[in-house]
Symmetry: C2
Subunit: 219 residues, 2 copies
C-alpha cells in the first residue's frame, strides 16, 4: 500500500472546497453564503461549515457582518491599488530569493508552470488566472522562505479576488515577454534582474487591472 487512508477532517474539506470556489470565481464577489444552505449542499452539519467560513474570513476572502452572515469579499479600487503596491515589493523579493536559492527541482517546476500558462487559451480568463497564480506560486516556493510563502498566499488570494471582480484577462501584449524575462533571470541566478522583472510585471499588470476597476467604483 502507498499510505493508509488518512482521516481527513470534514472542516478541512469544506475549507478547501469553498476556497477553491472563491478563487476560481464560482462564487461571485458580494455573494452571500448561508450556513444551512451550504450544509445541505455538501451534506454536513453547520459546525464544520462555520469553522471553514471563519478561516476564510480570517484569510480575507470573505467578510462577516454580525448576525448577518458572510459574503464573498469585494475590494474597493483603493484596496486593489494598495494590494498591488505591496505585491510589487513582495513579488520582487520572491523573485530575488528564488534566483538565489532555487534547486533543480524548482527550475523544472518553474518551466513547467510557465509552459502550462502558455498552453492555456487566451480567452479563458479563469484558466489564465489559475495558471498565472500557479506560476507565481512556483516562484515563491522556489524562494524557500516560509514566511514569504504564507504572506504571498494571502496576497495571491486577494489578487485573484480582484481579477474576478474586474474580469480582466491576464493577457496583455508584454505578458509573455515579461514572464520569459523573469524566468530567465531566475534561472540565471541574477537576483537583481529577477527582482526588477517581477516588479515591472506586477506594475504593468496592475495598471491594466486598475484601469478596468476604476470606472466601476468612481461613477
Amino acid at each position: 500500500m502507498t499510505s493508509f487512508e488518512r482521516p481527513t477532517l470534514v472542516r478541512d474539506g469544506v475549507y478547501e472546497h469553498l476556497r477553491r470556489a472563491v478563487l476560481d470565481g464560482d462564487l461571485a464577489p458580494g455573494e452571500r453564503l448561508g450556513e444551512v444552505e451550504l450544509g445541505a449542499q455538501l451534506g454536513v452539519s453547520r459546525t464544520p461549515i462555520r469553522e471553514a467560513l471563519m478561516r476564510l474570513t480570517q484569510d480575507g476572502l470573505l467578510i462577516a457582518e454580525a448576525n448577518k452572515g458572510v459574503r464573498v469579499r469585494t475590494l474597493s479600487a483603493a484596496e486593489a491599488r494598495d494590494t498591488y503596491v505591496v505585491r510589487e515589493e513582495l513579488d520582487g523579493l520572491a523573485a530575488a530569493l528564488a534566483a538565489q536559492h532555487h534547486t533543480p527541482t524548482d527550475a523544472a517546476a518553474l518551466r513547467a508552470a510557465l509552459d502550462d500558462l502558455h498552453a492555456a487559451p487566451g480567452s479563458d480568463y479563469r484558466a489564465q488566472t489559475r495558471l498565472d497564480l500557479a506560476f507565481h506560486r512556483a516562484i515563491t516556493h522556489a524562494a524557500h522562505n516560509a514566511a514569504l510563502n504564507d504572506l504571498n498566499r494571502d496576497l495571491e488570494q486577494r489578487v485573484a479576488l480582484i481579477k474576478h471582480q474586474t474580469r480582466t484577462y491576464n493577457a496583455h501584449p508584454q505578458t509573455d515577454a515579461q514572464h520569459a524575462a523573469l524566468l530567465d533571470a531566475i534561472l540565471a541566478r541574477d537576483h537583481d534582474a529577477a527582482r526588477d522583472a517581477a516588479r515591472t510585471h506586477v506594475r504593468t499588470f496592475a495598471a491594466l487591472v486598475l484601469n478596468d476597476l476604476q470606472p466601476r467604483s468612481t461613477p
Copy 2:
C-alpha cells in the same frame, strides 16, 4: 450618548483575550490549550472557544494537530530568519509610504508612541515588546495602505512570538538612535532615508534575536 452599547460577540472577546495572552507572553510557546479548560476559565461554552482558536491558528499564532488540539506556536531558527528577511522588506516599504503619506495626526501618534517606548524600563522585556510593536504599528498605520496593514499584522505577531521564545530584550546600544533616525526621516518626508533606516533597524535587531535563538535549536 457617544455610542450605543454594541452587542460584542462572545467569540470576538475570546479571540482578543487569547490573542493578547499569546502576544504578551502569558501563554508560553508550546503550551497546550484545552477547549474545556478555556471554556471553564472564561465561562463560555466550547463553541466560541473553538472558533477563536480556529482564527488564531489561521493567524499563525497557534498550530493545530488533528484530534490533538492546539498549542502556542514555536518557530524554528530558520522560520525566524525567514520572517526577518520579509520584515525588512515590508518594514522598509511601510516607512517609505509613511514618509510620503502621513498626516499631522499620524505624526503626533508616531511621536507619542516613541515617547512611550522610551519611557518603558529597559529591563521589562514584555513592556518593551508591546510598545515596540505599537511604534511599528503606528508607522504602518501612517502608510495608509490597507493591504500592508493586514500583512504587517501577521508579521508583527510572528515577531512577538519569536521574541517571547528568545526572551531577547529590545534594547541594544543603537536602538534609540535608530528609532530616532527612522522617525526623523518619516517626519521629514524623506522616503528613501526612511526606508533605509527601517531596514537597518530590522537587520540590527534580527541579528541580535537570531544570535540568541540559534544556540537553542542547534544543540
